[in-house]
Symmetry: D2
Subunit: 345 residues, 4 copies
């Protein structure tokens, strides 16, 4: 079968690979229908993710159809159409039983990282019964590709951890695909204001269309000042970091109101300054989280009920044979205005 | 009347001051029966607290008897014996109505800070109806002095924010009076293990007596290693910072288990490093809080029911005329083994 | 001044009454701008509410302008435009401090019940600082009349108590003004399905327009069967009783899914059957609540931010001099299709 | 092997039965070391539990050692000592993933009910990986028999559902084994008062020894009056029903304070009266629950840490060959003062 293989820092190739096979009774083999590219895939290709070694088929998102099941799989059968979760959950370990699938001692984020992933014609899914989700007929399957990773990430790490509530004021720092997913799912809770901060005017316009009540281009260095003005000097109830660099985290510290929550989503490469000399008395919370995909059933229901339109996040479509071009488009988002790209088998 | 007055950095005096008077209808004048000294008072005397200017009567803890009430006071009457809360709450502002008394826009921590305090024969208490608590007959009044500040601080900022639960593992960094209050109140929730970390063996022995299941002297630089050994490499569910310096906060970051909570109590003078490059994926929470004293009614019930013995925190007794000596004793805790000192009128 | 007076069972009159005066320093006199009629007012007029004696000016909803304040009022001043809460909260008692204003030992629902109410040119509001809410300029004042009682009732007793969540299935039994308020505020949390049950097709059509995803006319006795069909035999996550009779409460018991919540809003005159022989093992919750109006600040923000349009609830307008006609219209809702009627001074 | 078999209403026999065998890959065969008798077993023997048919080996509690595992079992191996949960959880269905194991669509309470149980030399445990718990060396194994059912039942259905909190007032109606388990686990949260109500003075004395602060013999019909006196007319924050008849549930309704919670544990055979005509405005919650055993890991930690002593619940010991005598003793608890009886293989 064809698959996209990481060939070492800066290198990738669409090449022939052996078909995956059932290795544990709880495995399923899924024939991919649609997949997509994640910012994390770009990090892998740069060589930033040491757990992912050359030779690995990457990708951890997608939908497909069950091609084969192991003897221990009881929830699915051959032919079922399924959503693939980016996180594999054994359902038995202490962390899984606490709903912390991302810390599953037998799984977690392994797909397209420590085992072969979804940018391939077929993929082996471990712990299939609790890592796949049945697709109901009539649901827009393309929308569901957004539920593999990006929507639960925005929702769990940003919206739930950030305790977004009706009438509250929320700031989201970073209007990339993750920030925009957060923006979409934050609206489940009807905050009064959602302020979107980014350096890119195009993304801010997208944010406006997606429901942001205010947008701030932070390139003039006055974002903090502007947020404080918008909130009458009070600050925001929830500040969501969706970038992953020290400057944006510091911005969250500068705009958070007493009693507020800073929810970090960004993947950080270096430490940040925590200004406890100022924040120790501010009754705030700071949260971190790798997505658990524990809310996937809830999100599926909201998509089925059309309470959210994940298709908004899809900017481009490619055939699988053109996946290298898809990477180019996704990798140069500033020019191409790419958000999420659908790769169709 | 006699009162302890802050005379500028490094200076204090017990001197004659004018009697306080009702300035707002919601004020009460309380004749002090017992008061105590807080670590914050030492900071004020060093000149570290810029909001507190020379000439101020300090002190924000104590019990007393109502001497006079303003026309708007409806809950108390002359002669009532009362517990004084270190935080004054107007009960009307947005923050008070959210239970965040420490951020009350008409009060907060003002006593012995921006208005005259309790180390005096009489004190004016603003917003008396919601800043004082009636003392029931038969309750040990000395124990109640611990409810003005130190017990709610340990309980709210450490135990509640730290989400201490039955069966959990808790580490408290710092076995001073605040850390020990946290230790006492943590036991309301029956954690399986409470690990106390400090540099002082005497304090660690006190901690053992107060219910710590393990104590670690961190002077050998191996505290993190030892905590990880005790928890089989897993880390703790709750890490409570009760010192206020970067090294102890970093220790909390080093020992927190995935899914855990770091509850900061310490008053920090400088920023700390937040290792998001490691913690971003650990599903942790970090909380800060200035005590709201919103749990004072709950704590009063636990004292009345003898579920906690705050007297354990009292190491010394002084007469008010000897308050300077009391300060010396409290200020040299390493030598005197002072925890809290009761100053009796 | 003119006011609507309860004259004993079945009798009311618009008559001349003495102007209210400040009786406590925390009182305010409010000149009414707009008021409305509540279902409870009809109960009073029938003689069902024994605490309300003949001679009482009724009404507990409205907006107005501060005409005079007592010496203890600090939040408001003459000329402020205010929303009147149906519940008076002293902010000092145990219940107020726990956010249970409806059980305030110095207030609660007293307006138009045990003290004179708002269907008058002027009204005395006790505990004004914590029972009135400032109206911001630019907000639709007519919409705010719905925030005195009906919206917080639907939201607190139905939506919050019922734990409505994104993706969930909610049934609301009763599509009168209270049920419709619940329907509007339930949408703050983006449930997947809201099933509205009533006997009146007109009200069900209104419900459809207000956002119900399904409506069921229960007059054929098959409502339970139909709800179970809609939910594939599973039942609903939240069942909200908004009528107040045994049959509708029983319906909630019959449609609740394991793990679900029955939130009672209805005012019941007789006991109901609780089928514990069936429900004991179903892991359900049943809640009751008299509205606390503790969410009024949150609701004000959602109205200002246009996250909700309370005007939808307003079906008729009357001048105060025509209040008797307003009562006729509101009292015969089946024929007049009245929801809430605005009475304009 | 020998096993206790239900032979139809009123009949049971200790007889020879075929050894259980692995029927699903996720099964384990456990050799029983110790088991016990539950009140539910008495109901089965009376013929009250229609799902349990004659010929069934009963019993759903116990500890043992793994004798054989199916090919899909990954957590346990032959020779592991294990605690058996009374509830079997597949870990894959919607209810399991929400922590509602009692409603598992592939399990739930089936042991000694719809499949053969633990009052036997060997038992087949379905979904072994998520229905058994490893026993650590050094833990008192007899104490752990109490963790199969009775302690999680009291804790989950009574204490957690009842929201027991430090300083609160709790009433437990019924001082049988379930009520006493609730009493023991309620103390994890340090309530100020625990009032125990029963008809049997011996059980009330046991309750005193187990930590009840007050006991009330309700045989004089004045229990409600006495509870109200003890609480100064206020009622209790939490009322826990641990009997299962209308009179005791009504008592809970009569003593619950505004804002309180009634947690039902009792297995009811008939409906009860819910006095909504009085309670609709009292801001109370009523909860029901079949134990999920989702807190078993937490309870195991509290036993290991000696925060609770479940041995207190054990009144008698029998050899397995004397199980009929054990039933006689347990069934005549009023005379024998039996609480839980250990049956040793």
């Amino acid at each position: 079968m064809k698959a996209l293989v990481y060939k070492g820092p800066g290198k990738k190739a669409l090449e022939d690979c052996p078909m995956p096979t059932i290795t544990n009774p709880t495995d399923a083999i899924v024939k991919i229908i649609k997949t997509t590219i994640c910012g994390t895939d770009l990090h892998i290709l740069k060589g930033d993710v040491s757990s992912c070694i050359p030779g690995r088929i990457i990708g951890h998102e997608g939908i497909g159809v069950i091609d084969e099941i192991g003897s221990g799989v009881t929830v699915f059968k051959k032919g079922d159409r399924v959503l693939i979760s980016c996180v594999s959950a054994c359902s038995k370990c202490e962390y899984c039983r606490r709903g912390m699938y991302s810390h599953c001692v037998n799984g977690g984020w392994i797909l397209g990282n420590t085992i072969d992933g979804t940018q391939a014609e077929y993929v082996r899914i471990p712990h299939a019964d609790t890592s796949l989700y049945k697709i109901l007929t009539g649901v827009d399957e393309e929308a569901l590709v957004m539920l593999s990773d990006i929507l639960p990430t925005g929702f769990e790490c940003g919206v739930l951890n950030g305790k977004v509530q009706p009438g509250n004021t929320v700031a989201i720092i970073g209007a990339g695909p993750i920030g925009l997913s957060t923006l979409l799912t934050a609206q489940f809770y009807s905050p009064a204001e959602i302020i979107m901060v980014d350096l890119d005017n195009n993304r801010l316009e997208v944010a406006k269309r997606f429901g942001a009540t205010h947008t701030i281009n932070s390139s003039d260095g006055k974002a903090v000042e502007n947020v404080m003005k918008l909130t009458n000097g009070r600050g925001v109830d929830t500040a969501i970091e969706a970038v992953g660099v020290p400057a944006t985290f510091t911005m969250c510290e500068d705009i958070i109101a007493p009693g507020g929550t800073i929810a970090n989503i960004g993947v950080h490469g270096v430490k940040v300054d925590l200004h406890l000399e100022r924040l120790w008395s501010q009754n705030i919370s700071i949260t971190t989280r790798l997505v658990d995909t524990v809310t996937t059933p809830m999100l599926l229901k909201t998509v089925q009920a059309k309470k959210i339109n994940p298709n908004l996040l899809i900017s481009h479509h490619f055939k699988f044979e053109d996946i290298i071009e898809a990477y180019n488009t996704f990798g140069q988002a500033a020019e191409t205005h790419a958000l999420k790209v659908i790769i169709q088998m």
